[in-house]
Every structure is written in C-alpha cells, then in structure tokens.
C-alpha cells in the first residue's frame, strides 16, 4: 500500500514536468549507485517513472551488467568498445576502469528491471519489442504502470500488441486498490479469455477482493484449469514424441548393427559419444578460425560426426568384430571391453569434465502453440530424427550399397555367390550404423552432457527399443521408440521418474515374454539363418 502511494506520487510528478521531476530522477540515479539491493530496486522503479530521457538506456545497461559506479556514486555506462559514458547525459567520459565497480543486482532488482523496461518500451517502434514490454508489464502486475499502459493502449495499432496490453492493464487493475468492482470483473473476464498459465497465476494471486470478484476469479480459474488439463495431455504426447525421437536417434544405428547384422555391439553408445565430441571439437575449431560460420556449426558437425564415427566403426569391425562373427557372447564381452577403452581414451584426451557444447540461438527458447510450449531444441531433434531415418531408409532401399547390404543379410552365401564381397559389406554396414550413431551424438550434445559417460546412459535404452520394435526392422524401431517415449512420459507424472522407468522395464519384460521377437518380427528365410 505504502509502495503504491509512493508510485502514485511519482506518477504525478511525472505528469507535472519541472523541478520535482528532475529531483526525483537525480535521487533515483543516486539510489542506483547504492550497494543495498533494496535501494537499487527502488532506484530502478523511480527511474522508470521519472521520465528521464536516458532512463531506458540506464536500466538496460544495468540489466546487462554494464552500469558501473564510482566511489563518489557517479554512474557510468560501459560501451561495447570498452569506453565509458556518463550515465545521466550519455557524454563520453574518461575514467580509469579500475575506479569503477559494476552495480550489483539480485533477483528482486532483476524483477524491477524487467518491469521498468516493460513500461519504458511500451512505446518502442518495433511491435515485437512492444509485445514483450506488454508481457513484462503483465507479469509485474504493477498498478504504477497503469498510466503508461493507458496512453500506450490509445496509441497502439497492432491488434496482437493491443490485446496483450489490455491483459496487462487487467492484471494491473486487479492490483489497484481504488479500482471499481465492474472494472475488476471486466479484468477477471479478460484474464479468463487469455486462459494460460500466467493468467491462472495472476488470478490465483488475488487477495482481498469483494465476494463477487472473488467468485468470478474462482470460476475463471476452474475454467482455465479445465482447458490447461486438455492441453497437458497434448503436451505429454509431444514430450513423448520428443523423448521417442531421441531414443530413435540413439537406436537407429543399433538397428543396423544389431538388427540387421546381429552383432551385439556394447560399444554402440561410445559411437554416439564420439559424435558428441566431434561436435565439440568442430565448434571449437569454427569458433577460433571461422567465427562467421559459427551459427551454422552444427551443420558442419553432422557430416563430420557421421564420417568419423563411421570410420571408427569400420576400424572396429575390421580389427575386432569380424573375428567374432557367430560368437555372440565373445562379441558382447569384447565390445564391452572396447567401450570401456574408448571411454577412458576420451577421458584421457579431453579430461573427465563435461564439455560445454553451445546451443545455437536458433535452437534455444520455445514457442507457444495454443497451450503447448514447444522448445526449439526438441523440435529440431524431432525433425532431425525424421530426416536421419528417411535418409537411412532411402540409403538401404535405393543405393547399390543398400541393395548389397540387404542381399548379404537375407542370404549371405547366395550374395557371395553373386560376387558381392561380403566381408566389405559387413564392414560398411557396421560403419553405416556407427555413423548414424555419431549423428545421434550431435543431437544429444544439445540436450545432454557431453562427457565420456554419455554413451552409457543410452546403450540400455537403445537395445530396449530395438528388441521391443523387432530385430531387423527399421519401422519396428520407429514404432518402438515412439511407444516407449510416450508411455514413459505418461507414466512419469503419475509414478515419478524413477518408478516410471521401472514400470516401463517391467512392461517390456512381460511383452518380450509373450512376443520374444518384438512387435514386428522379421519373417522369411533370414530368420532361420
């Protein structure tokens, strides 16, 4: 209440230009130089309402950690080129950097900065900036922003921005003690129409309302909850698809090496890990040598990861696995040993610590679709897995290598009799599977830790998917991965992540008991040989 009066007074001084305004701006600036977080917060709030011409620049500098204070409380902004400017005037200033200390902020100050920038940017020329500003004001639910909102609403032409501003106004109105009951009811209605999680949060936050308003708010919350419930089912399906596509990527390579060739390759996860490290190295090389290409670094990493993991795979097949064909137990032990060796090799070269693989900006954040939150990195991975799978199927179906691979797996002796060099086809098939695993590594580097243990966490899941889907059938792998993903994501909220995983495993065991060859077993001669 007290704070609100303070704001109202400030708003008034803002409307009456003159001495009072200049003084409040000066006081606000002095407050910013304080070491007390509370004083800084109040300074930000006051500065936003003071009408100071450089308010936006100063608050933005504070947000970016570029606002510095000298011991005598004079404020300076650090420019991008390393020079300094006086905060209040923008005039270049020649001050030694050692004398300045950045103004420290905490979460409370950060919240005030966001709200203040929201108010200040309501009149920005760019509609996206205005939309963000309106959203920031909406979240702040600050009645002090009302005068600015009213003026912005009058000036606004863009219907989308206008709607958001209207909602911001509703949220602010509900927090204004002097608002009338019809105004409040209309505001509740506006929020109910908005109907998302933020609106629900604002409504849930209401206290001390009249019975009519409280009742309207309660019924609005109920209505919003009902819609959110529906959306949450769709959201779970999306999560399941996204988890499924990750599993699919990890398992696609294994579907070739295990599914088609019948090699139990415990080092499959390490192929994924190598792909992730290739991504890391590619990123570092591009960052230092070709900074202009940096945003597209993942596009370079994909073929490199495929190539390098593929070559490692071929080397493994030639050096180790070809001596062990038809001896599954020995293969299992040998490849397991190999996986440990590869892990330790990577650990010795790159260190035990996780590597920081950057996510490009076009893969960060999320987009809203109705009530769905779709995170970009997951969306791209879903897309990527579809592309990888399509390419893999096309390669098997339409290339001559694919033809030979299929020939060798269906009838090795006949294929050999037709002049196909079966040992080389084996090596290339294994290389293809490993290469696909390497590409999976590129994708996983975006959502998981790039560490020597990366592969280990996916090997069990990969085998699960391949066995569940049906050995030797790529479509089975697709259906298997998506089913496991979706089942997992529906179980997780109910049973918890730990129990959910156990339940999935138990279900899988029961399923394998009934159908040992998986969902889509291979039929025909290949099965017998």
């Amino acid at each position: 209440m007290k704070r609100w009066i303070f704001f109202a007074l400030l708003a008034m001084t803002w409307l009456t230009p003159g001495a009072g305004r200049a003084q409040s701006a000066d006081e606000a600036l002095a407050a910013l130089a304080s070491t007390s977080f509370n004083t800084v917060r109040e300074g930000v709030e006051a500065l936003a309402l003071s009408g100071h011409p450089r308010a936006q620049a100063i608050v933005a500098a504070l947000q970016n950690g570029k606002l510095l204070a000298r011991a005598d409380k004079a404020l300076f902004i650090k420019n991008d080129d390393g020079t300094f400017a006086e905060a209040a005037t923008g005039a270049p200033a020649d001050v030694p950097a050692a004398a300045l200390k950045p103004v420290r902020v905490n979460n409370a100050v950060r919240g005030a900065i966001e709200a203040a920038l929201g108010v200040l940017r309501l009149f920005a020329p760019d509609p996206t900036a205005r939309l963000q500003a309106a959203e920031a004001v909406f979240r702040s639910r600050d009645p002090a922003a009302l005068p600015a909102l009213e003026r912005a609403l009058v000036a606004e032409k863009d219907p989308k921005v206008k709607l958001r501003m209207d909602q911001a106004r509703a949220a602010a109105l509900l927090a204004l003690p002097s608002a009338t009951e019809p105004d409040r009811l209309a505001a509740v209605q506006t929020l109910r129409t908005r109907g998302d999680i933020e609106a629900r949060s604002t409504l849930g936050n209401l206290t001390g309302q009249s019975p009519a308003v409280a009742e309207a708010a309660a019924s609005a919350i109920l209505a919003i909850d009902r819609t959110l419930q529906l959306w949450s089912v769709l959201q779970s399906i999306y999560y399941g698809l996204s988890l499924g596509s990750v599993l699919l990527l990890a398992a696609a390579g294994l579907a070739i090496t295990f599914g088609v060739m019948g090699v139990i390759n415990m080092a499959h996860g390490e192929m994924v890990m190598i792909g992730a490290y290739v991504t890391f190295v590619t990123q570092q090389v591009i960052k230092t040598n070709f900074p202009a290409l940096y945003p597209a670094n993942l596009l370079f990493a994909i073929p490199l990861a495929f190539g390098i993991s593929g070559l490692v795979g071929i080397a493994i097949e030639r050096a180790l696995i070809r001596w062990l064909y038809g001896r599954p137990l020995e293969t299992l032990l040998a490849t397991w040993g190999l996986s440990l060796m590869l892990q330790q090799a990577v650990r010795s070269i790159f260190g035990a610590n996780n590597k920081d693989v950057d996510t490009p900006s076009w893969m960060s954040g999320a987009t809203e679709l109705g009530g769905l939150t779709l995170t970009w990195n997951r969306m791209y991975i879903v897309l990527f897995s579809v592309l990888v799978l399509a390419a893999l199927m096309a390669a098997l179906r339409y290339t001559s290598l694919g033809l030979r691979m299929r020939a060798v797996t269906q009838n090795r002796r006949m294929a050999a009799a037709m002049g196909i060099r079966t040992p080389w086809i084996d090596a290339l098939t294994f290389g293809l599977g490993s290469g696909v695993a390497g590409m999976a590594g590129v994708a996983l580097s975006q959502i998981d830790n790039v560490s020597p243990n990366l592969g280990q966490s996916y090997i069990v899941d990969s085998f699960m998917v391949v066995v569940f889907g049906g050995v030797g059938n790529l479509w089975g792998t697709v259906v298997g991965a998506l089913t496991l993903g979706i089942v997992n994501k529906f179980l997780e909220p109910v049973a918890g992540a730990v129990l959910g995983k156990i339940v999935v495993l138990v279900l899988l065991i029961l399923f394998i008991q009934r159908r040992p060859r998986g969902m889509f077993p291979l039929k025909g001669r290949a099965v017998e040989t």
Partner: protein
C-alpha cells in the same frame, strides 16, 4: 591338545613362545622405526573415473597441491608427506575395498576422500573397524557422527536450512518444490526440509517432492509440472538437491521453457563453480546456490589460494569450489592436530583434532567441534553470467553444525560429543543413553 604340535614338551613350548615373542618384538621395533623415519602417508580416496570423476578429480588435485605445499614447508613432525592415490571408480563397494587397502596395506595415517553419501556409508565400517581417520569434504545430509570421520562439509543446518530461510524472508516464497536425485543425501535432506517447512506452517499441498534417477536427462514434463505448480498464485521456489551432471539438462530445460529466476528461483545445494563450467550460464542468471565458500569471495587468502591452484594445475581457467575449501581446512586441521599430538597415531590425533581452529578462505576461522563437524559461515549466491556466484547473503558469524536434525522426530534428542567422558556419537539427552552413532 594342540593338533599341530603334538610332541612338544612344556619346556619346549616355553622356549618356542619366547622365540616368537622376540621375533615379534624385533619386527615391531623394525616397523616402528620405519614408520618414524619414513614419510607419513596420506590416502586420497576419490573417484578418478566413472560418473563422479567430474567432481572428485578436482579434490584429488587439491590434496596433491596441499601435500606438495606442506612438504616444501618442511613436512609434518620433520617427516615428509606422501600421497597414496587410489581410484575407487565411482563404484561404492570398491570404495570400501580401496579404503581397506589404504589403511592396512599402505598404512596411511589419514585419508581424505568420498563425495557421495553412499560412498561414505560404504567406507564407514572400514574406518571404524581399523580405527583410522577419514576427512569427508562434501555437504551432506547429517544424521551421522562417527568417531573416525571428520565432516568438513556442511550439515543441513549449515546449508539447506539457511537457504530456505533466505527465500522465505527475502523472496517471500510460500510454495516449495523439493527436487532431488534419488539417493540417500537428497532423500534425507528433503525429509528434514519438509519437516522444517511444516514447522513453519507450510501446508502439505504447498510442498511438491520429486525424485529423478542419477544422470536424468529428459526434464521436459518435470519442468512443466514445476511451472504448473508455480502458477497457483503464491511465490514458488525450487530447492534442488539434484546431484551431478543431471543439473545441466535441468537448467537448460528451465531456460528453454522460459522459467526465469525472477519467476521461480532455484536454489541448489550441489551446483558449484565446477558444475557451472560445463553450462552456458546466461539463462541461469539469478538462480541461487547455498555454500560455505564461493570462488568470488574477495580476500587475500582466497586470492592466494586461487592463484596457487591455477599455477599448480597449469590451467588459468580452473575454478575453485566449496568441497575444495573443505579439504584445505581439513588438511590444515590434521597438520595442526598431528603437531599438537606429536604423533600420527589415530587415537591421539582424533582427540587432538577437537578444538583445532584454522583460517578458512572466506576471511574467518573454522573450528573442529566435539561432534567432529566444523563451524562454517553460510553464503547464498546468485549465479552470474560468467559462471561465478554473486554473494547476496552471508551469516554474520560461523554456524555450528547440527549433526542430528532437530526437525526429525527420531533424532531430535540426539547429540554427538566425542570428548571424554561422553565419547558418544549419538547421545540421547532425554534418556541419557548412548547409541552407536552410526544410525539413530
């Protein structure tokens, strides 16, 4: 009577006994003299491979640095120190095996080691049986007080409870998500926190508890459910006991789903500078961590330590963190206690350690208390864009550890005091009885 020596007369037996005694005595003297002149061995029991290698390798390095420094200054009791490094490979039973090797085979005077509580629980019986000394440097769940272990990390009241208090008072948080990895430390900590929050009047429906497996990487719907839980209108915060590298995808998902620290702050107990080194910290700015040391603390001791560390590892980018500080304190305490006792004998050093006080790196002193825990200041820091912490709250003095939580019914009457005449790790002040000290 004796089936192996059926025909030995009584006199023969006496002679045999005398001979055996002589041999034993000579052997003993030999062993003792070898021990007195040779180097003092220090065991380092940290995983150098496996999932925990990411955190524990650093601790091995810091111990090597401290030992090297001590040797340059002339060693301890005029003898050099020698590090015995073993690799328990993040394998909990192997920890016990390696601990036994360090004590029985290598004759280490003291061991510095373990990170996860489960590894500590695994070596605990070994140290008690062979009566040796373990310094445990990591914040943990409390509810333990062994005579042979010195806990230089924080107990819950030196980390978790002050963090909750900070959010309660400063951010007016009224709704709590307790998210953790599924093992003993998060489970016990969350049990204590839940009891504490309820004692402050938080209703059961305002607390959400969630556990995930080690290395969990798909946080989509857990983060979504936190978002939903936070939309009830009351200010919400997440208290995270998520351990190890599962934190990276967790924070990434928070950033991607647009949960900012200003909306739902996350306060973490297992995320330090080392863990942040592997993440793009820009989306995390403002999330909190509670520790007893931050690299960003400004004072001469810490500056010197960081400079030494970077020089020792020959890597100007290496970070320092809280468990490292705990090892530094623990090592300095051990040196002081050995000099005070004048011997490396376990019993003498265990008694001498109580009451030893050494400077910590945050500008104060830490003392070893009779409950084998040390006094520590509690710091709350906000993550900054450069991966360092900005201290937003600090206790005025140091806090004495509560090894047994007063918020858990089973342990609220227990205290640990290893001074004579009590000499008990779990003394019940109500019934005036002493239980083992391993578990209440």
């Amino acid at each position: 009577m004796n089936p192996i020596l059926p025909n030995v007369s009584r006199r023969g037996l006496v002679r045999l006994g005398a001979a055996a005694a002589t041999v034993a005595a000579v052997g003993g003297i030999k062993a003792a003299s070898a021990q007195a002149s040779g180097p003092i061995k220090i065991g380092i029991l940290h995983s150098l491979s496996g999932t925990m290698a990411i955190s524990e390798t650093t601790l091995k390095d810091v111990m090597l640095m401290m030992i090297e420094k001590q040797n340059k200054a002339g060693g301890v009791l005029g003898r050099k120190l020698e590090a015995v490094v073993v690799d328990p490979a993040s394998n909990w039973p192997l920890f016990a095996e390696k601990a036994r090797q360090l004590i029985s085979v290598d004759k280490c005077a003291a061991t510095f080691g373990c990170w996860t509580s489960v590894s500590r629980k695994s070596v605990l019986p070994v140290f008690e049986e062979l009566n040796s000394i373990l310094f445990y440097p990591v914040q943990y769940e409390g509810q333990e007080c062994s005579r042979n272990v010195f806990y230089t990390g924080a107990a819950p009241n030196q980390q978790a409870i002050p963090a909750v208090d900070y959010l309660w008072n400063e951010s007016k948080v009224k709704r709590w998500v307790l998210a953790g990895t599924d093992y003993v430390y998060p489970r016990t900590t969350n049990q204590i926190l839940e009891a504490y929050l309820k004692s402050k009047g938080v209703a059961a429906e305002d607390i959400m508890v969630n556990y995930t497996p080690f290395g969990h990487s798909d946080w989509q719907n857990i983060v979504a459910s936190i978002k939903k839980f936070g939309s009830a209108g009351k200010k919400t915060a997440v208290v995270s006991t998520i351990n190890g590298d599962a934190n990276v995808p967790f924070y990434k998902e928070l950033g991607n789903q647009g949960i900012k620290a200003t909306d739902i702050p996350v306060v973490a107990f297992s995320v330090g500078e080392e863990e942040l080194a592997g993440i793009d910290t820009k989306p995390l700015v403002g999330h909190l961590a509670a520790w007893n040391y931050f690299q960003s603390i400004e004072n001469a001791d810490n500056k010197q330590f960081i400079a030494d560390w970077k020089a020792f590892t020959k890597n100007p980018k290496r970070t320092t963190n809280d468990p490292m500080e705990a090892h530094v304190i623990g090592f300095n305490m051990w040196v002081k206690a050995v000099e005070k006792a004048g011997t490396v004998d376990s019993d003498a050093v265990i008694d001498a350690l109580i009451g030893v006080s050494v400077p910590n790196l945050t500008g104060g002193y830490s003392a070893m208390m009779p409950n084998h825990h040390i006094t520590k200041p509690v710091l709350i820091g906000e993550i900054q864009a450069d991966g360092q912490f900005n201290t937003v709250s600090q206790t005025p003095g140091t806090v004495v550890a509560q090894e047994w939580s007063p918020y858990v019914a089973d342990t609220k009457d227990l205290i640990g005091d290893w001074r004579a005449p009590l000499s008990c790790g779990a003394y019940n002040v109500k019934t005036k009885t002493c239980s083992t000290g391993k578990k209440a």
